[in-house]
C-alpha cells in the first residue's frame, strides 16, 4: 500500500491503530486479572481491575474523538473510511469487554470469603482462557489485517458457548444439591455469562476486521450456541 500524499493523515491512521492495540492489550490484561482475582480470592487485585477499567473508558473516549475529528477533516474514502469506522466499532466492543472484566472482578469481591467449588472453578478458568485466546487472536487479526484469522475467531466462538452451556447445567445441579450453594453459584453464573459476552464482543470485532479487510460483511449467520435461555433442569 502506498503512503498518503498527506503525511499527517498517514500518521493519524497509524496512531489510531496504536491506540486500538494498547486498548486491546489493556482489556486482555483486565480479563486475565479478573480471573486471577476470582481464583486467588484476592480483593486487592479485584479492586485494581475495577480501577483500571477507567483507563479502558478513557481510551474509548480518546479514540472516538480522534475518529470524529478525522471524519470531519479528512473525509476518508474506501479503505481509509473502513479503517476509521472499524476503529470506532472495535473501541466500543473493547470498552464493553473492559466492563465485563470489571463485573467479574466485582463478583470476585463478593465471593472472596466463600469456599469455591473446584470443578466449577476449573470450568470458569477454561472459559476465560479460551476467551483470552480469542481476544488475542482477533487483535492480531486486526493488526495484521488478516480476514481469515478473523473468520477463524468468529467460528471458534461456538466453543465458548458450548462451555457456557455445560457450566450453566453444572451450576443448576450444584444449586439443587444444597440451597446454601445458591449464593456462590449465582455469582459464578453471572461471571460465566460475562465471559460468554466477552466472546460475543470478540466475535463482533472479528466481523469488523473481516469488513475492514474484504470490504463486505460476513455472509453467514453467526453460530449462536448459547442455549441457556431455553434450558431448565426440573427439581422434581
Amino acid at each position: 500500500m502506498n503512503e498518503h500524499t498527506v503525511k499527517s493523515y498517514e500518521e493519524e491512521l497509524a496512531l489510531l491503530d496504536k491506540k486500538i492495540a494498547q486498548m486491546g492489550g489493556l482489556a486482555e490484561q483486565l480479563l486475565g486479572q479478573s480471573l486471577a482475582a476470582l481464583e486467588k480470592r484476592d480483593p486487592r487485585l479485584a479492586e485494581d481491575v475495577v480501577q483500571q477499567d477507567r483507563q479502558v473508558d478513557g481510551f474509548e473516549r480518546d479514540i472516538e474523538e480522534q475518529v470524529i475529528s478525522m471524519v470531519a477533516r479528512r473525509q476518508p474514502m474506501a479503505d481509509d473510511l473502513r479503517h476509521i469506522i472499524s476503529a470506532l466499532r472495535i473501541t466500543t466492543d473493547l470498552e464493553r469487554i473492559g466492563d465485563l472484566a470489571k463485573n467479574i472482578a466485582k463478583r470476585a469481591l463478593a465471593i472472596a470469603d466463600e469456599s469455591h467449588p473446584k470443578p466449577l472453578m476449573s470450568g470458569i478458568h477454561h472459559m476465560v482462557e479460551l476467551a483470552l485466546h480469542q481476544l488475542k487472536e482477533v487483535l492480531d487479526a486486526y493488526a495484521e489485517r488478516d480476514a481469515d484469522k478473523a473468520l477463524a475467531v468468529w467460528r471458534n466462538d461456538a466453543q465458548i458457548d458450548a462451555m457456557y452451556n455445560s457450566l450453566f447445567r453444572e451450576l443448576l445441579t450444584y444449586m439443587m444439591e444444597d440451597p446454601r450453594n445458591i449464593g456462590i453459584s449465582t455469582h459464578l453464573l453471572f461471571g460465566a455469562k460475562n465471559i460468554e459476552r466477552v466472546g460475543d464482543h470478540t466475535t463482533n470485532i472479528a466481523e469488523t476486521v473481516h469488513f475492514l479487510v474484504r470490504g463486505f460483511n460476513i455472509a453467514d449467520d453467526r453460530p449462536k450456541d448459547d442455549q441457556t435461555s431455553s434450558t431448565l433442569i426440573s427439581g422434581t
Partner: protein
Amino acid sequence: MLKMPTLDVQTNAAAAGTETKVFANDVNVYYGEKHALQNVNVNIPDRAVMAFIGPSGCGKSTFLRCINRMNDTIPIARVTGKIVIDDQDIYDKSLDVVQLRARVGMVFQKPNPFPKSIYENVAYGPRIHGLTHSKTDLDEVVQSSLEKAGLWSEVKDRLDEPGTGMSGGQQQRLCIARAIAVNPEVILMDEPCSALDPIATAKIEELIDELRQNFCIIIVTHSMQQAARVSQRTAFFHLGTLVEEGPTTEIFTNPKDKRTQDYITGRFG
C-alpha cells in the same frame, strides 16, 4: 419547509439508469502523436448522473468532449471507435453536428454567459434552432428554463440586465438554463463548480439532483466528495484509460482496482 431525510441512496442508485443513454465502444483519441485516450468502453445510463474522476491529464475531459464532438474543433485531434446515443452513431458522416450539440448540452468550468441580457442568453438557443414560433412561446421557454435552473425568482425582474453582471454562481446557473433551453437529452458538465464558492456549489449540486429526473448528466469533477454526493455511477480514468466504473457507493467504499483506491484515498504517487 422541513424535508424528511431520505435513506434510499442505494435504491435510488439501483432505480436510476436502468436504460443506457450513451454507449461507448473502443473509443480512442489521438492529439497528433499523443494517444490521449485508449479503448474506452462504457454504458452511461439515462436519467442519472455519471461522474468522471481522475488526476489531471487522465483523459476524462477528453472523453467528455467526445460525447458532443467538441474534439472536432481541435485540428490535430482524431477520434476512433464508436459512440452511440439512443441507437444513433454520433460519428456517422451524415450526422449534423449542430443538431447533435443541441441534443448534448454542455456547461463549462468557468461560467461563460454571452455578453447579452439574461433573457437573450437563454432565448438564443431555442431561437437559432427554431424551437419556438412566437414571442409567447419563447417567453415560456425562457421562464421554464430559468425555473428549472433555480434562477427564475432571482432574475425575473431584471431579465434585461446583462448576464455577465450576475454573481459567479448565478452565471453558472444561467449557463445551465441556457443549456436546457434547447431541450437536450444529455448534459455534459466539465468541472461546473470549481470556480464557485461552497454555497453556489451546493445550489448547483441541488440543481443537478433535480435535473437528473429528466436528463442524462455526465459530470467531470476534481472533487471526489462532489462525485460521491451527486452521482449514481462513477468512472475512474487514469493515464488515458478507464480503470474502473461502477455504482458510486461501491467506488467510494470498496473500489476493486488498486489505482482507484490509491487515487480516491489520496495516495497517488
